[in-house]
Each structure stands twice: as C-alpha cells, then as structure tokens.
C-alpha cells in the first residue's frame, strides 16, 4: 500500500444512511478472481439512475466520498473498498462505519474518517451546495478540513493505524516480526483443541 499523508480534492456527497456493502459492490461482482476493475461495479444498481450523484459531471473528479451514518455495514467483502479505490476515491467520511469495512479500508489504504454526526451533516450540505469545495482528509493531523466552508472536524485514528497509513506498511509483514511470540503462544495451547487433517487431494 502507498503511504498516505493526506487526501485533498473535491468530494462526492452521498446523502444516504445505512449504505451497505451490497450497494457499494453487488455480489455478482464477487466472482471475479482478479482484484482489478471493480470500479465498474461501484454502486452499479444505483448508477442505473442517471440522476444518481455518482453520474453527475460536477463530481466526476471527486477523491473523497462523504456519506450519511452507518456506511459500509453488512457483508465483509473487501471488494467494496477495492471498488471505491478503483473508481478514484482515497478517503470516505461518515459519522459511523461498519467495523469490518473500516478495518478493510485501513488494510488497503482507503482512509475512513469518522466525524461527529453534526459535522458530517454540515460537510455533506457544504459539498452539495458547492461541488468545487476543496476538502482535505489529513491522516497526519487526524482531521477533516474544508476551509471554504469553515469546517474542521477531527476523527479518531489509533496511533498504530495512523503510522501504518503514513508509512504505507503491510501489516502482515509487521506481524511476521512477532513470530517468536506466536510460537510461544502456540506451545501453550490445550491439546484438545480441534485440528484438521488434510491428505493430499481431499479433506480427512
């Protein structure tokens, strides 16, 4: 993943609550074995409506998605994050995210900025009234800024995740640094815990 200090650009206002990951990327798209090209599936059912906000030319260059509360609930499909990024989004702002979606975001490098409900609503309204409004999601300072609308909204991001995003670190690599601790833990596991056998070519 690429390091991210901050994301600056215009924003797309998605004035809906409870946008589940089935809406972000419908299940039909999950059969693909490759990880690329999911942008075409992004909100594909809603995009059939020519008035849907994603179809509007004034938001074509947006890199920040601003949504209502409970964004990314439902299915654990990481494809939702891939679709948003493939379309060009680098940050999502919402008053509340589904936990798995939020987790998936930070693994791949999409910044999830969870702001207070009032500030989220204010940003949504500001972006709706001025599509050219410049918005910054600052990972370093943990704040969403829209100076043109007088908005400065802090968001929580734990130190570890912030550091990983700033440095662009793969966290599998970070965990592999702790193989000694994992091995020590493994040696203490009760013997009665279940394990499978797998003869070549099929399950035991």
């Amino acid at each position: 993943m690429d390091p991210i200090l901050r994301v600056t650009g215009t924003a797309l206002p998605l004035d809906r609550s409870d946008v589940d990951t089935d809406q972000i990327i419908p299940a039909e798209w999950l059969k693909q074995v490759e990880r690329s090209g999911f942008g075409r599936g992004l909100f594909s059912a809603w995009r059939a409506d020519p008035d849907f906000v994603l179809n509007r030319p004034e938001h074509a260059q947006a890199t920040i998605l601003v949504a209502g509360p409970n964004f990314g609930t439902g299915s654990s499909r990481e494809h939702a994050v891939w679709a948003l990024m493939d379309h060009g989004f680098r940050a999502v702002v919402s008053p509340r995210f589904g936990d798995i979606f939020r987790n998936n975001c930070t693994k791949v490098g999409l910044v999830p900025a969870q702001v207070e409900a009032g500030e989220g609503a204010a940003l949504l309204a500001a972006v709706q009234s001025d599509p050219a409004l410049e918005v910054t999601v600052d990972v370093d300072r943990r704040v969403v800024l829209a100076p043109g609308a007088g908005i400065e909204a802090p968001f929580p991001l734990d130190d570890f995740t912030r550091w990983r995003l700033l440095e662009g670190l793969d966290d599998i690599g970070l965990t592999l640094r702790h193989l000694d601790a994992i091995a020590a833990y493994e040696s203490g596991r009760p013997a009665w815990m279940p394990a499978l056998s797998a003869p070549a070519g099929g399950a035991g």
Binding site: D20, H178, L196
Partner: protein, 466 residues
C-alpha cells in the same frame, strides 16, 4: 485489565488469545480456526509466504454452488473458475476442503458446528460477516476481509483493536410461535443497524438460555446486522450436549478437561458491560421486515409504517426510499402483503430444526398456486438427516422445491435469484436492495412464518392457517 477483576465472557476469550500486547498498538490475537470459502480464497497472494497452520484451516464451497443437479457441470464459467481456484489453493497448501458434492459440504457456518469444530472459548474467523454464528457456542467469532484472510493464513494471528462489551438480555418466556429469528429481528429493530458497532454482544437472559443451539446460532448469526463485531452466548449444558460425540469434539479424558475449562468461561457475576439493553420475551411477536435494512421490522400484526413518523431525519429518509424500493404504502397491514416467492435457507435458518419447524407447518397443506417456494438445506448432512425424517417428502408434497446445500438465494451469487419487483418471504438475514437479485424485494421472517406464508400467499403465522 487485571485477571482478578470480574470479566465478561468475551473479555475472557479475548484475554486467552493475546499473543502480544503493546502500548498504542492493537492486541495481536491468536486464531484457533479459520474457515474459508471460494469468494475470499480466490487467489492467495501471500508473496511467497506459506500457510502457517493448514490444520487450523477448513475450506468449503457455499457461495457460488448451484443447488440443482450436482451431477451437471457448473454452468456459470466465472463461478466455476472461482471454485477451481479454491480447489487448487487447498491442494497446494494442504488445506482440508469439502467441495461441492462432498457429504460434509455445506454453508461454512453450518458445517463448523455440525463437525464439532466450533467449540466454546475459541477464536474463529472467516471471510464472511456471518461468522458471528459460531458465537452461539461461546466462541469469539467474527468476519474479516480478504487482506485479513491472507494475514491469518500467513500468521494464524490478527492485530485487533479491543472491542467494547454490550449485554442484550431477553428475559421471560417466549409466546407460542415466537422463534429465535423473531428475537433477533426484534433486537435489531430496537438497537438499529449501528447499535452494536464497536461491540461484542453477549445475549443473556432466560429466553436466550431456553433456546436450542440452532436457535442461539440464528440469534448470533444476525449480530452483524446490528453492526456488532461479534455476538455470543455463554456455554452451558445445552452447548455441551450438542457438542458431545461430534467428530471433532474432544473425547474421553480430553472431553472432561475441556468441560472444566468451558465451565469457567461465562461472565463473572458483577462483570460490567459498556452498554446494556433489556427486552421482555413475553411481549415479542413474530416479526417481518418491511424495508431495506434489517432494523426496518415490525410485528406481523402491525402495518407498514409511515416514514413521516420517524423523528430522526436520516431514518425518515431511509424509510421513504425503502417503501419506494419495496413497492409498499404506509398503513398497509403486513398480513395484506402478498408474496411471489418463499425461500427457506441461509446460514441463519437452514438447520434441521428450522426445516422441521417449516415442515410441520406445511404438512398436509399446499403452497398457494402462483407462489414459488424452495428449501435449501444448510449442508449435505442436514439434507441427509431431513430426508431420513421424510421432511423432503413433506416439502415436495406441498409444492416446495427441495434443493442441494448452499447459500443460494440469500445472496444470489448462484443461479437462484429474484427477478426485478419479485417479492420474497425469506428466512435469510439481509433485506438489502438487490440482495436476492437486482430489483428483488426481500422480507425477513422465521421458518414457521415463511412456511405459513407459502401456504397463504400472504404474510401469515401457522396459527391462522385453516
């Protein structure tokens, strides 16, 4: 947190699995069991890494598999490629796989418990949000994304931020006809789709205790629909008698040791939860969802709500859009809504108990002409047991289709899907727009209500059938 403090069940399971704890970092948690299926194990990208514990990993095929004639090749080439990729990966990395057609194949959340792999006090993950199902055994079980799937394959551990704790207590006796599905729909209706975000829910109270393991799995399964990171129920004698003798359950002396261990898991008296919600079981009714998220539910005796009655503007707007999508009008009695299709299946309600409950309703009755009704057992084992009991004949005799095991119409990744505008009473877990097929309209119900609705052609309880 010190070990001398009163702890909740989820905190105990968490603390037992901490591999490494450091200030300012998420805990590194050991994973006891990793379940994989074709959608999140399509192309293992381990950058040359190996699978650390193939013996703690189990694969099956459930999302894409057709549920019709299994002797035929999979017609959808994209699905087939994904299933082939899973098979090749499992072979390469030495992972046990129950593929399509195997007697142990089934929905991943049905086969884990069925094989006795799901045990109290374990950590279980799967690239599927309904992994919370396994919490019914007092395991800490949660869904993960593809990156985390790779993380667990490579390290058998996951960095995780500490979850909050939430107690949902359902006390009292459930009225006749009110099932586990109604309990969880009522809970989600009460706390909302975001009510559990950041938390692990522990379901407590006499009404939860009185549920079978199947019922507890139904409740825990839908924890994610309330946004919860996981949901669990303290293990007790119901849990132990379900587990004893299953293929992967401990045997002989190991069983005794395991029992001693499991009995120490329930939340300590006085353990504090960050949030608490209490429901009165005696007041619960069979529930039906009317909208496009699982908190938009109402008792079957009720009516489609008026969006203008919602105080919260975002809920009001969501209700307006939901009614438009669902083709419903405020004030319509739920019992006046007719359906085109009835689906009994999914990781929420496809176990033997669910099929028995539905079969008891349709026995000697007929599916209303014009209604398409199908039963998709959760696993090949469930299917075999049901057929042994003659449930398949009860279903087919009434006009239901009797299918092979899989996720099927719960998420419409295989050929089983709704057409635009088609209205379905479904025992599954998500009524999202398009979930069961583009333009499809889903109403979530229990197996008993689904069966009665198939007979009546409109929403009904078994009690009101002739």
């Amino acid at each position: 947190m010190g070990t001398n403090e009163a702890m909740t069940l989820s905190e105990k399971v968490w603390e037992r699995h901490v591999v490494r704890r450091a200030q300012g970092e998420p805990d590194l948690i050991f994973i006891d069991l990793h379940l994989v299926h074709e959608v999140t194990f399509d192309g293992l990208r381990l950058s040359g890494r190996s699978v650390r514990h193939p013996e703690l990993t189990l694969a099956t095929m459930d999302h894409n598999v057709p549920t019709t004639d299994l002797s035929q090749p999979v017609a959808d080439p994209v699905s087939r490629r994904q299933m082939d990729a899973l098979e090749a990966n499992c072979l390469q990395f030495g992972i046990a796989l129950y593929p399509m057609g195997h007697r142990n194949q089934g929905i991943v959340h049905v086969i884990g418990p069925q094989l006795g792999l799901t045990q109290p006090g374990m950590t279980i993950v799967c690239g599927d949000s309904h992994t919370s199902t396994h919490g019914a055994f007092g395991a800490l079980a949660f869904g993960i994304g593809t990156s985390e799937v790779e993380h667990v394959l490579a390290t058998q551990a996951l960095p995780q931020s500490h979850p909050g704790t939430m107690a949902v207590t359902v006390d009292g006796q459930l009225p006749a006809g009110v099932t586990a599905k109604d309990v969880i729909l009522a809970i989600i209706g009460t706390i909302g789709t975001g009510g559990g975000i950041g938390s692990v829910i522990e379901y407590r109270g006499s009404a939860i205790r009185s549920l079978s393991m199947e019922g507890r799995m139904t409740v825990c399964n839908m924890s994610i629909e309330a946004g919860a990171r996981a949901g669990l129920v303290a293990p007790d004698d119901t849990t132990f008698s379900f587990l004893e003798g299953r293929p992967h359950a401990p045997k002989a002396k190991a069983w005794e040791r395991a029992l001693d261990d499991w009995r120490s898991l329930p939340s300590d008296p006085g353990a504090a939860f960050d949030k608490e919600v209490v429901l009165d079981a005696a007041r619960l009714r069979p529930h039906v969802s009317w909208g496009t998220n699982p908190s938009q539910v109402v008792a079957i005796d009720g009516e489609v709500p008026d969006p203008e009655q919602f105080l919260d503007p975002s809920q009001r707007d969501a209700a307006r859009r939901a009614l438009s999508y669902m083709g419903l009008h405020a004030g319509t009695p739920i019992r006046d809504i007719t359906v085109d299709t009835v689906f009994i299946g999914s990781c929420t309600n496809s176990r033997l108990e669910d099929l028995r409950a539905a079969a008891a309703v349709i026995q000697g009755r007929r599916v209303r002409p014009g209604v398409r009704a199908m039963v998709v057992p959760g696993s090949m084992e469930v299917k075999a047991q049901a057929e042994h009991e003659g449930l398949d004949r009860a279903f087919t005799g009434a006009g239901f289709e009797w299918r092979e095991a899989g996720c099927s119409m719960c998420l419409a990744m295989n050929p089983d899907k709704l057409s635009p505008g088609e209205r379905c009473a479904s025992t599954s877990n998500r009524n999202f727009e398009g979930r069961q097929g583009p333009g499809g309209r889903t109403h979530l119900v229990s197996p008993a209500v689904a069966a009665a609705t198939a007979v009546a052609g409109r929403f009904a309880t078994p009690q009101e059938l002739d």
